[in-house]
Symmetry: C2
Subunit: 357 residues, 2 copies
């Protein structure tokens, strides 16, 4: 049964890191006889430059037909001044919402080989393994009405709407509880229920869904406290579940705790388990084209893709083992460079993973 992967290199360092990840995909495809084919398409700023749209119709059509999507990264200062409706990130947001990729899984794992890379003290982060489950197709990212209007007194006012319905909360809650069942069996739901009504409903539905999972413990935490606790004692968490905006902020903070955001993959899944896979980090325009970006988060995103969407667990395991071996060998890209290790290029890191496979 042949499987089709859509590759979206995107902007900034996207093309460089995706190139290495595709080499890895091609190799395991042959080694494990997976019958995976792939094609590429444009998204983000590069799509805008070429077609006038950050999410061209052709890309969306291919994305809907694909069994899985591998994305590099999108956006950059070059497209910053554009009107909202055409800014490149709309490409990403458009993909997420059109494909209903509502469940964003963002692990924050401290690799033992990279323990020194964290800015936190070793005793605070050693063994860190959190999974952030972020709702990805709702909340204030997509809420209507939105825009900038002129008030009666002549001044302008910007407005966005933070909105969640019961069914949106229920399905992301189930994603979190299901994930927790495979891990430490604890879910911490993050809200701001002392101020925002939408998160009062959020908290209530979390409680309701928790009854379906008596083996999983549910706790609640206010978002400001969660930001503090991530810094103070991050190992207290197993699975954190939250909305789109809080999830954006907290997952980046959590990833950075590990000191190796260049190492962290992510999955964005729809109700059928089809998904888009991408590194947690952004398009890093400041280092684009220099060949120094870390391709490992994208390579590990390929592993997640094989495991969650392409039913190829063995190939996924092989990639993860290869990455671990490369770290054991002391190879590091600049972002995770360390004194006793060898700093290598994007390409050399890709070579090393291929060699380890």
């Amino acid at each position: 049964m042949s499987k089709n992967v859509l590759v979206l290199p995107g902007d900034g360092i996207g093309p460089e890191i995706v190139e290495q990840a595709v080499r890895v995909l091609d190799l395991v495809n042959t080694q494990f006889n997976l019958g995976i084919s792939h094609e590429s398409a444009l998204v983000g700023g590069s799509a805008y430059d070429e077609t006038g749209s950050p999410l061209p119709e052709a890309t969306l059509t291919k994305a809907k037909a694909a069994d899985a999507i591998l994305l590099g990264a999108v956006g950059g200062p070059k497209w910053d001044g554009l009107d909202m409706a055409v800014r490149p990130e709309k490409g990403l947001l458009g993909l997420r919402s059109n494909l209903e990729l509502f469940a964003n899984l963002r692990p924050a794992i401290l690799y033992p080989q990279l323990a020194d890379a964290s800015s936190l003290k070793p005793e605070i982060v050693a063994g860190l393994d959190i999974l952030i489950v972020r709702e990805l197709t709702g909340g204030i990212y997509f809420g209507q009405p939105r825009g900038i209007r002129t008030l009666d007194n002549g001044e302008r006012q910007g407005f966005n709407t933070y909105v969640y319905s019961e069914s949106e909360i229920r399905r992301i809650a189930r994603s979190a509880f299901e994930a927790a069942r495979q891990r430490g069996k604890r879910v911490c739901s993050i809200d701001k229920s002392n101020v925002l009504e939408v998160t009062v409903l959020w908290k209530e539905i979390m409680e309701e869904v928790a009854k379906e999972y008596p083996d999983v413990e549910l706790t609640h935490m206010l978002v400001d406290n969660a930001a503090m606790q991530l810094v103070r004692a991050p190992k207290q968490f197993d699975v954190m579940v939250t909305g789109n905006m809080f999830g954006d902020i907290l997952s980046d903070a959590a990833a950075m705790l590990t000191g190796s955001i260049g190492m962290l993959p992510s999955a964005s899944l729809n109700a059928e388990g089809r998904g888009m896979y991408e590194p947690c980090h952004g398009s890093a325009p400041d280092i684009a084209g220099q060949g120094i970006a870390n391709p490992l988060a994208t390579i590990l995103s390929v592993a997640m893709m094989l495991r969650y969407s392409l039913d190829a667990k063995e190939a996924a395991d092989a990639i993860e083992a290869a990455v671990s071996r490369v770290l054991d060998q002391g190879l590091r890209t600049a972002d995770i460079a360390s004194q006793d290790c060898q700093t290598v290029s994007t390409q050399a890191m890709g070579d090393a993973v291929l060699a380890a496979l």
Copy 2:
């Protein structure tokens, strides 16, 4: 000229820590002949229990008449189940908005004596001195419409509105630039302008106001990146300015970086410089009544109050010097306890500051 301070002990550890802070206020009042009088009033959950409202009319009237307000902390699980409109935090939000305390100044400072208390590595946080300027009377905290409605399909939907007008952004921008002028002359404005229209306007007005302050540098950062950078390299910041919700999250994260959130005061000022002063930490209901809470953030809030609202700079300096001396003596409350230091009670910490004055 006599000055009137309204003292609002609030809930949880509020009364305990405020008690020590008032002793300090009384002493400097005598020592420096400041002519300050003070009275107390109810706010928060304790006000709700007694009067049915978290912000009784009598309290609000006194607050409006006062030259400055000293607040402990409000809220706690006891009042969690209450309807939004009467939940205790409404007392706090009501105070902020009725008094138009739009500029919330939250310093995140690493005390050299407490360098070990941070969960970050010493080289990352040594010398940390950030000021977060948070807009406090607008944004999604106060935006209308808000609530929980039932959709046509019968399910409920929670909604809040994130809104800022030009004039609201302009005045908080000026607060940030003014503050930066007294410090490192750098403002970093935090937004999510790649997704939220309201923050596109925010960014634009920041640029406009920056023209009035050619001696201050303005940069912009996306909120998710800001959360990462606070963990990765917090010393890159001087003044950070942001809206109510992002400010809530980032200021708590920043405060926690110092490992001594029990040490950090805050000021909430209106256009005339009148203000409310309170510790950055919350009501900590889990340790309330045990006599172990750290009163220093509240005592330092008294110092901020003397400096910003009561024109008593010398008394403020004296309090800050006394706190520093007490830390030098090795006295620590439980939250900042360390091996070679003596762990003392709330009351004993208050005694020590009085003795050092």
